[in-house]
Amino acid sequence: MNLLIIAVAAALVNNVVLSQFLGLCPFLGVSKKINTAAGMGGAVIGVITIASAFCSLIYDFILTPLDLTYLNTIVFIVVIAALVQFVEMLLKKTSPALYEALGVYLPLITTNCAVLGIALTNVQNGYNFIESVVAGFGTAVGFTIAIVIMAGIRERIEDNDVPESFQGMPIVLLTAGLMSIAFFGFSGIL
């Protein structure tokens, strides 16, 4: 039950994009079409879940015993960068079909602040290994929900007559603001 609460809170209540503003670059940059948005979402789910697991293990079994917890930012970012490279190579070798579908998004994820953000929040909240993985997975699902909805709305906006000054970035940000208000409704469920 506790795990369910962590997952729902991470996915909907504290939505990573719309209330914590993490991972905004891909949210704004890769949300032009629903297909690419879904692909990005899939890749993010994979990477964040694996990265949360690894970072949690490294924090508990390497950094804490050695009293090096203050190095967590440096260690986590290096681990995440290496992990993304490794996942990319692994996918290329073992599953070319999956690589075709998700591979192009992997390089984008290394510097996605959501991945590092989740790893650091997990440590801050004192989550154990399983809780970290669940929180990571929930967050990534929340990201996917947000980016796919955003892509759907943007496909519709294409056909509309937007005032000149609001074309491009401003209208997308306004849309995100309205979505953020909608997601505020979830804060009552926990």
Binding site: G29, V30, P107, T111, L120, S165, P170
Partner: protein, 251 residues
């Protein structure tokens, strides 16, 4: 009397400052580093704190990367840059925790996340890794101050509309409109307000740019006129990386 070389250097440094503050302002013109821009701008003080700490990291990492630009092998330059930036961020984090604990508390997780701010890695890749030390320092300073100015303006606007105060520090404020009968629209200091205020600021910028015959701000994936990213120097931008990856796939 300044020698010609020194005059050239000086001109270059001033040009870098102007470039960061106005011409390529990272927030309003390039729309980079959106995460901290939106997350910490609930008040002007937070904006200044975040902006200045990013500026320190930007200047120090530009300095370091420019010094090491001939030593770092091309193949591993990204990881090397990330480690350099992360080291400076950790130092700034400790200094802030020690000397400005209340600011540290209110900026929270966004201090370590300066590591993945695209402005810093973008400048490292686009400028510091190719240019001498002095212009790189001024490039970092210009970009950092441009970022600070932008997020301070955003923070001040949100604080004014959403909290009814100017330069509030939690306990006291420079001007407090709530005591004069103003009811704050608190949605502006919540998450949605961040998106709305930034959207309005960029819309105003677009209007100004239009008057001067410049391109309006676009969502990163099609900055170029023809949908290409060829002319862009920001290698950390999601859109650019994706277009390059797609081109590689087709080839």
């Amino acid at each position: 009397m300044l020698r010609q070389w020194e005059v050239l250097q000086l001109n270059k440094c001033i040009e870098r400052l102007y470039n960061g503050l106005i011409k390529e302002n990272p927030t309003f013109v390039l729309t980079l580093g959106m995460c901290p821009t939106l997350a910490v701008t609930t008040s002007a003080i937070n904006g200044i704190g975040m902006g200045l700490s990013s500026t320190v990291v930007l200047v120090m990492s530009n300095l370091m990367i420019s010094l090491l630009r001939k030593v770092i092998p091309d193949g591993v330059r990204m990881p090397a840059f990330i480690v350099i930036v992360a080291s400076f961020v950790t130092m700034v984090q400790f200094l802030m925790q020690g000397f400005l604990p209340s600011l540290y508390e209110s900026l929270g997780i966004y201090i370590p996340l300066i590591v993945v701010n695209c402005i810093i890695l973008g400048r490292a890749e686009a400028y510091a890794s190719k240019n001498p030390v002095l212009p790189s320092i001024f490039d970092g300073l210009g970009m950092g101050l441009g970022f600070t100015a932008a997020i301070t303006i955003l923070g001040a606007l949100r604080e004014l509309i959403g909290g009814g105060t100017i330069l509030s520090t939690g306990s006291s404020a420079l001007v407090d409109f709530t005591t004069m009968g103003y009811t704050p629209a608190s949605i502006f200091i919540l998450a949605p307000g961040a998106f709305f205020v930034l959207a309005m600021c960029i819309a105003v910028m677009n209007r100004i740019k239009k008057k001067h015959g410049m391109e309006p701000a676009q969502v990163p994936d099609y900055c170029g006129k023809d949908g290409s990213c060829a002319s862009c120097s920001n290698s950390m931008c999601g859109g650019k990386a994706m277009i390059e990856a797609e081109a590689k796939k087709e080839a």
